[in-house]
Symmetry: C2
DNA sequence: CCTTGAACCGACCGATCGTTCGGTTACTCT
DNA sequence: AGAGTAACCGAACGATCGGTCGGTTCAAGG
């Protein structure tokens, strides 16, 4: 049994510091010196916990991707009408995005310069395609308006959801995750759903 | 009269190359070596045309910001009902974003590490506030649904519009700027406008 | 008390960063 | 032909990059 002896860093606690700095300065704009200053330990000490800068990135984006993919495994995302499953996924995306804000923020900003970043981009595309399939199915059911192209609508909806990371600040307590999810669902579906 | 003698670089033509590379690798992730390779001239030759890396960034974001602010000066953005002016600004934002795609893309990705980036962020905030005022006025007129908070709706709409830079590729000829603007207006306003 | 090992550090590595400098080339104008 | 100059180059600058190395500190376990 290894009990934590004192207040010291683990790869996880170090990650939470690193992700904050990454999001503030950008991954490429963050040096190990920046991280060491923010963490309050020396540059070399960071390498005692993680193998390097890129492992921190990998851990961060993995956490974000795991949270998103888990949504697709939820019962409400797998059973029922496509349009209902879609609405559930949209709402849960907003909630996960907010609960894992710094990690998803970093994920949405990777550009593909390293192998890790390209891997993250690929997994993101997979997820996007899975959601696009849902929208396509809802369109086939006739549950969304037919005058906006499915492909285009998917991208715009993703754009709206993902943009939340650009302004949502949990400490400001302006709106809870559920409230934001409600607003997004309102905007998305009152625009998407065929008028009764 | 200075006629261009041969096919040589000017600050403007060099900028168009640089912005492409910036958008592919990220500003911080782009070295002068990368730029020189992409431009086909030596690293030191770049300094014959521009004062350095940051001037390229400044020129790029200025061009994007000028395009956006010009929208607010158009007659249709200054006269008439607030909700009509808002719709015009939204449509024109999409069109400018697409016609100046690489420059706006770069603008939307700056993080604030340098003085130029912070200046760009500040001007962006100014623009956002101007548009938010329009939405607020439309809400006061009773022309948008009252059950979604104005502040939140503004951010989500901006998010949807700005996200276009993440996927729109002019060479693919999937949809013209006007077609995308139509789709955005459909989604935004069928969700925003009070049912008749 | 003494060994062990996690946590940490300063000094340093080769590589690369943005930038500068002293030229050379090649075109225009007279 | 000769002067002037825009466009360009290779070499090198000090600074900083991500990462390594040989330790030191200190609490836990026997």
């Amino acid at each position: 049994m290894t009990t934590p002896r004192r207040d010291t860093y683990t790869p996880e606690t170090l990650l939470s510091v690193a992700v904050q700095v990454f999001n503030q300065r950008g991954y490429d704009g963050t040096s190990m010196e920046h991280l060491s200053k923010a963490a309050g330990i020396s540059k070399s000490s960071i390498y005692h916990h993680v193998s390097g800068k890129e492992e921190l990135l990998k851990r961060a984006v993995s956490r974000a991707l795991d949270g998103l993919f888990a949504i697709l495994e939820e019962p409400a995302a797998r059973e029922g009408q496509a349009v209902e499953r879609l609405e559930h996924v949209v709402r849960r995306m907003v909630e996960v995005l907010i609960s894992e804000l710094p990690y998803v923020t970093l994920l949405l900003r990777v550009r593909g310069n390293t192998a890790t970043e390209r891997w993250a981009l690929e997994r993101r595309r997979d997820f996007d395609h899975r959601v696009a399939e849902l929208l396509k199915a809802a369109a086939a059911d006739g549950d969304v308006r037919p005058d906006v192209e499915v492909r285009l609508a998917t991208r715009l909806v993703f754009g709206m959801i993902n943009s939340i990371v650009e302004w949502y600040r949990p400490e400001a307590r302006g709106a809870s995750g559920r409230e934001v999810a409600d607003a997004v669902a309102q905007l998305v579906f009152s625009g998407l759903r065929r008028a009764a």
